[in-house]
Symmetry: C2
Subunit: 229 residues, 2 copies
DNA sequence: CGTGTTGTTGACTCAATTCAAGAAGTGTGG
DNA sequence: CCACACTTCTTGAATTGAGTCAACAACACG
């Protein structure tokens, strides 16, 4: 009873070169699910029976301290997979996942996937490449958290959101500021303050969820100099 | 001209079930190298032509800020591989590597390895498992850096160094304290101070590079309570 | 037995957080 | 359409954890 809508998962690099029969095998036990904003998708520590492809919306992966403080590890945007890094080792999820905005996902059973993985070189190599990239990103995060100031991290985040190419750029924040703040390891208040400074310095212009980068060069200089007074 | 000494790499899980012919193929362009304490092994950003198996000694993987500050991402101990997470994507090393103590490594050319990887399911899956584990560790580090205080991280480190099982335990620090401090995201002075507090609280006993955990229960309580006053 | 490295301790500083209050935006139902 | 409740965001003031700077102790080593 396979729906056409499941085929959207082909947008994921992970499934790009999959043989039709393998894809069918994987999608046999897949289903589309909807999650309302704030609704939990899976919990850290629970057994990983499925991983996910995000069709639309946005999802945050996060950890909680014993006191309930939250650190967002990653924000997932449409057309990427999440929770797949754990398919091995009979794993448990290392993070909590919850919808940030109303979201639609394809839920893929890990057991079917791992059999495909075992037989399909290409998919295993793609997965390897994917994990390798996440590893680099995480190393970057650790370095950033320890070697950069809050201001530098905010500036770095803004620059990372710019489409490549020079000159001005506009970025639209699809997720609330407090989620972004947690993602870059800063309190929401601090995030707000840094934006205020950048705004009054004429580096950016903020209007609601839209930020204009007015002077990218200056912002880059600010990131690797001024943010550390 | 293959030396027997190269066969030590079989201690690495990555090579455990490799066919003799594959292993020979990989080791054909491998060689043993010695590094003196503090000697650099590879640089972040440089092209990754080789990865490494540590035979003896210890190695630190680290990043540098523009101002030369250092963050240790990982400390490598004998019988594990490092630099292998980057064999893909025609990669560049994401970190610097340098010997902490005089070290002996086996240097393995990535080009030969990646051909083995492409043909050998089993190795690819092992590699996947290895990367998955590192991913979890890195997520743990990010969470720890943002959700725990310096004191909690120090206590957590000590507990992580204990052999499992209850009661007292002795740990011998094989690497200088400033390296450990950087690894857990704390300045050397702070590390020293926390140890002093734990010592005067009767939780541990320090003698040079040897630390006795006198009351593990109390240390655990301290980690998830007191370290956050 | 000096010279350099590594570790400890004290006094001071400051970046970022916490607490608090209010503004701005969003959605619901009468 | 407005009033109310609710969440998100901004700004100010006060606090503090951990860092910096500095001096010295304890080693290690040629």
């Amino acid at each position: 009873m396979m729906q056409d809508s499941l085929l959207v998962v082909r947008k994921a690099a992970l499934f790009a070169n999959l043989l039709p029969e393998d894809l069918e095998q994987i999608l046999k036990n897949a289903r589309v699910r909807q999650f309302k904003s704030h609704e939990p998708i899976f919990s850290a520590g629970s057994e990983a029976r499925a991983f996910y492809f995000l069709v639309s919306g946005s999802v945050r992966l996060f950890r909680l301290s014993p006191q309930g403080e939250e650190k967002v590890i990653e924000v997932i945007m449409p057309d990427s997979t999440f929770g797949e890094g754990v398919v091995f080792l009979g794993g448990r999820y290392p993070v909590h996942a919850a919808a940030v905005t109303d979201s639609e996902v394809v839920e893929l059973a890990t057991n079917h996937f791992s059999s495909v993985l075992a037989s399909n070189h290409d998919t295993a190599l793609r997965m390897l490449a994917g994990l390798s990239t996440r590893l680099h990103q995480l190393i970057q995060d650790v370095a950033s958290l320890t070697l950069e100031s809050a201001g530098q991290r905010v500036a770095g985040y803004l620059l990372s959101q710019c489409p490549p190419g020079g000159g001005q750029a506009a970025i639209h924040m699809m997720i609330p500021k407090n989620v972004i703040a947690s993602r870059i390891g800063v309190k929401a208040e601090t995030f707000s303050r840094v934006l205020a400074v950048l705004r009054s310095g004429g580096l950016i212009h903020v209007a609601g969820n839209d930020i204009q980068i007015l002077d990218r060069e200056a912002l880059m200089r600010w990131r690797d100099g001024v943010g550390r007074p």
